[in-house]
């Protein structure tokens, strides 16, 4: 091991070779021996953090208390290294009903309805056991949405892996996808979108982010608050086992190597139980018996109790012997820190416990009263009535130190930024087109998403494979539109631009359907924040994100930070991922990405690419030249905002036949994908479209930058010729460039270039041939 990696300690600890004299965990560490062995270090706490605990507590913590601190003060739970930076993100807006701080953000979508949504990472568990890691990742974020009182209705899964031809990466890829498929499908929550990108930087550290979205009425909103001293604390769902407690399993003996097998650090997902938990909790919440709800994720009972009490300013008393356990002889420490899945914490009025129990029984679950809310402000843990831990809830949940780590501009940037894109030779265009379209990152992800049930609940009007997902809201004309986006390569080359692009791209993905972006959630995946260069990437990316959010008026209502995504000093590309939620007022006016009618005009709304800088960090550059270089420009945020406006208004006036945003693979990929048509048929069928376009290269522009350039805010739209004046007016009124390229043509993609007075055919291919290359890039070998 090259470096202490606290992230590995999140939710559990390394093996502690440490004598524990009793099975209770309630003893006080003797100062001398404690200083000698410094158990907090193995638990991931720094010496000064331990001293802070002693100071705030006014005494030494006992072992159980130390464990509780260690987990809640971990990076994962306490955001020690990110909190200060995240404060810069705009979190307010007219649509925001609940912002950061709760289990999920909530946006008003009108008609008394609201959307709860959030994204979370499960990167580290997936690196160890991809199937269960991904499965429990889905389970965790679903419970966050459930905790708000919303019915979870959609999942999205932004994923990153090493190259698919690398065996380890292929194994992780396959495991993660089947884990999501296994868990999400069983829950009956459609997985309607996501991303899969590949780069060597994710080889040892795959990213598995999962976003969940739920719908509820305003008056069904719940919060994770343990208010009302005297109220009961109940746990519903699975019994508690030793899952997820890495080290420190208590036994009255020295832990040895062979104890390894006794300490399962892999949590096993049980989607069947989660499905019952969803139904039971929603039913309980609708009875009025429930005062507050909190999911149990990292650090299980400890964190859910501490957080709910801290939010409400109350205390709590827990009797560990009342917690249903699945294994014998569990210590208070183990009960309090277990990360057994599929459990929820409920705060229940004293006389309403029978209602909760009855509903739980109906769904075949166990529900137990494990304690009560108090007014002391302390989280008190008892075993058989004997106090084994007492910590102020606020200190535990909110008292962790906040760091502002050193940051310095990464050295690699000097080299990557100075790369001369102008010096690139011009390759064979036909060859480049096929190379880019069959690049793993650009290629069809149908082999992934056809393993997901994306139609269950019968609200999926546009599912995976169509840019953003469009969900109808039954009983209304509305549609909720959602998309996740992020680009690690761009962020690596220009972190600030990467943070901006994630927001812009996600907003455009939503807007091309005609929906107005309302708010976003994020997952910030980075390396070790104690490395100044990594922290610089983080600060820059968040700053970029914040600025883009302000310009686009899409506040951030919550999210997640995942640090320490690195192995042996090799960090992943800094990868901020954004999930945007938008609203379509009339689902009948939604726009899909596919060309509809031969003869429709094809145009670029927004910036026209062509400048060599547009190739910086592009898929084209990596695929055709093996280069990750250049300095990607920051997006023009005013233009991006106007583009959103033009897309939303134009769709509202039913101007467009199709619209798709320009991202990886440039306008070439956007044109090709518009031509391919949907890929939802399991049996290949249905005719494909095409287009005949003519491009002209402006001064200083390169042909390859026109076709494959990415650093632009633009959309490829098609519309019937009679709409041209109106589209032109709309663009003009918003100060947006509109470039007519050509027309929709069935079955072929033809690209011509005009240089001076000459027109040259660059490309003339059957759409079917390109679609085959694009859709078979992942075909089973």
């Amino acid at each position: 091991m090259t470096r202490a990696r606290p992230a590995q300690l999140v939710g559990g600890f390394c093996v502690v070779s440490y004598r524990v004299s009793c099975a209770m965990g309630g003893f006080v560490l003797k100062t001398q021996s404690a200083e000698d062995s410094r158990p907090w270090r193995e638990m991931g706490l720094k010496d000064h953090e331990y001293r802070l605990i002693v100071e705030k507590l006014g005494r030494e913590p006992n072992y159980t208390e130390l464990g509780m601190f260690a987990v809640l003060w971990s990076e994962h739970c306490a955001y020690k290294h990110s909190k200060a930076v995240l404060r810069d993100l705009p979190t307010r807006g007219p649509r925001v009903l609940v912002g950061p701080g709760e289990n999920a953000g909530v946006l008003d979508i009108g008609d008394g309805l609201a959307v709860a949504f959030k994204m979370e990472s499960h990167n580290h568990p997936c690196a160890v056991e991809p199937f269960q890691g991904a499965a429990t990742g889905v389970g965790g974020i679903v419970r966050d949405i459930l905790a708000m009182g919303a019915r979870p209705v959609a999942l999205l899964d932004p994923l990153r892996f090493g190259p698919p031809d690398d065996p380890r990466s292929a194994f992780l890829f396959q495991g993660v996808v089947s884990g999501i498929s296994f868990y999400g499908n069983c829950l009956g929550i459609p997985t309607v979108g996501g991303e899969v990108e590949f780069s060597r930087s994710y080889r040892s550290n795959p990213l598995c982010n999962v976003m969940c979205l739920g719908i509820m009425k305003h008056d069904e909103l719940f919060q994770g608050r343990a208010s009302g001293p005297g109220n009961l604390v109940m746990v519903v769902g699975h019994s508690t086992g030793r899952d997820g407690i890495h080290g420190c399993t208590f036994a009255s003996e020295e832990l040895r190597e062979d104890s390894e097998s006794k300490r399962p650090n892999v949590q096993v997902g049980d989607p069947f139980m989660e499905k019952l938990l969803i139904e039971a909790c929603l039913e309980m919440m609708r009875t009025g018996a429930v005062v507050g709800v909190q999911d149990m994720g990292a650090a299980g009972i400890t964190s859910s109790c501490a957080e709910t009490a801290a939010r409400a300013g109350t205390g709590m008393e827990i009797e560990v012997r009342q917690v249903p356990t699945r294994e014998e002889g569990m210590t208070p420490y183990e009960v309090m820190l277990s990360e057994s899945q599929e459990r929820m914490l409920l705060i229940v009025a004293p006389d309403k416990a029978p209602v909760v129990r009855e509903t739980a029984r109906k769904w075949g679950l166990c529900a137990a009263v494990i304690g009560k809310v108090t007014d002391t402000g302390d989280l008190v843990v008892k075993e058989n009535g004997v106090e084994v831990a007492r910590i102020p809830a606020k200190l535990l949940a909110e008292g962790a130190p906040v760091y502002e780590p050193a940051s310095s501009e990464p050295r690699y940037l000097r080299e990557t930024s100075s790369f001369k894109l102008e010096s690139l030779p011009m390759p064979c265009i036909l060859d480049a087109v096929f190379k880019v379209m069959s690049a793993p990152t650009v290629a069809s992800k149908a082999p992934v998403w056809r393993q997901y049930d994306y139609m269950v609940r019968t609200d999926t009007v546009a599912g995976p494979g169509s840019g953003a997902a469009v969900l109808r809201v039954k009983g209304t004309r509305k549609g909720v539109v959602v998309s996740t986006d992020g680009n690690g390569r761009i962020t690596y080359l220009n972190p600030r631009a990467g943070g901006m692009w994630a927001v812009v791209e996600s907003a455009l993905n939503v807007a091309v359907t005609g929906a107005r972006p309302l708010g976003i959630t994020n997952c910030l995946n980075f390396g070790n924040p104690e490395d100044p260069e990594v922290f610089w990437q983080f600060k820059e990316a968040v700053a970029g994100m914040a600025e883009a959010c302000r310009r686009l008026e899409t506040p951030i209502t919550g999210g997640n930070v995942s640090f320490y995504n690195e192995t042996e000093g090799e960090a992943i590309y800094p990868t901020p991922v954004v999930g945007t939620v938008g609203l379509l007022d009339d689902i009948g006016k939604r726009v899909s990405p596919w060309f509809k009618r031969e003869g429709d005009i094809v145009a670029i709304l927004g910036q026209m690419p062509g400048d060599p800088s547009h190739l910086a960090g592009s898929e084209y550059l990596e695929r055709c030249f093996g280069l990750v270089a250049g300095r990607p420009p920051e997006p023009d945020l005013v233009l991006a905002r106007n583009l959103v406006e033009a897309l939303v208004r134009g769709a509202g006036n039913e101007l467009y036949s199709s619209a798709t945003d320009v991202s990886q693979g440039g306008i070439l990929a956007a044109l090709a994908e518009s031509s391919f048509g949907p890929s939802n048929d399991l049996v290949s069928s249905s005719a494909v479209g095409g287009a005949e376009i003519e491009i002209s290269t402006g001064e200083g522009h390169r042909l390859d930058a026109v076709l494959f350039g990415e650093g632009i805010a633009a959309a490829v739209v098609s519309f019937p010729e009679p709409n041209l004046p109106e589209v032109t007016n709309l663009a003009r009124s918003l100060g947006l460039p509109l470039t007519v390229l050509g027309r929709v043509k069935s079955g072929r993609i033809v690209i011509k270039a005009r240089e001076e007075a000459q027109v040259k055919t660059l490309l003339d291919i059957e759409t079917r041939a390109l679609k085959d290359a694009w859709s078979q890039a992942f075909a089973p070998s």
């Binding site: 160890v128 056991e129 097998s261 300490r263 399962p264 892999v266 096993v268 997902g269 049980d270 139980m273």
Partner: protein, 96 residues
């Protein structure tokens, strides 16, 4: 007994069995659900169920030792997930 022949060497056919089970400490939701159903069906004396895999591999090898080694190798590398599972192997020579 049947012999295969590779480059002039006689090979024996074996029927190997790899039993893959979850480590004792790993929670087994499937087993739990099956147990509950069995109890509901009236088998009230069932206290626990664990689900595992029973994989039968037909292979050829020079001798039992080699077959056993290969089988263990397959189990380690593909058939069992070392993070969550353990395995046991057994072997019999098969007549034609």
């Amino acid at each position: 007994m049947r012999f295969g022949e590779v480059q002039g060497v006689l090979l024996v056919r074996y029927r190997g069995t790899v039993v893959v089970t979850l480590k004792e400490t790993i929670f087994d939701p499937q087993g739990e659900a099956v147990k509950n159903s069995l109890v509901a069906m009236g088998f009230s004396s069932v206290t626990k169920v664990r689900m595992g895999k029973h994989i039968i591999v037909y292979l050829e090898a020079l001798n039992e030792e080699e077959a056993r080694e290969k089988l263990a190798d397959m189990a380690r590398r593909l058939l069992a997930n070392p993070v969550t599972e353990t395995y046991e192997i057994s072997l019999v020579e098969v007549p034609d």
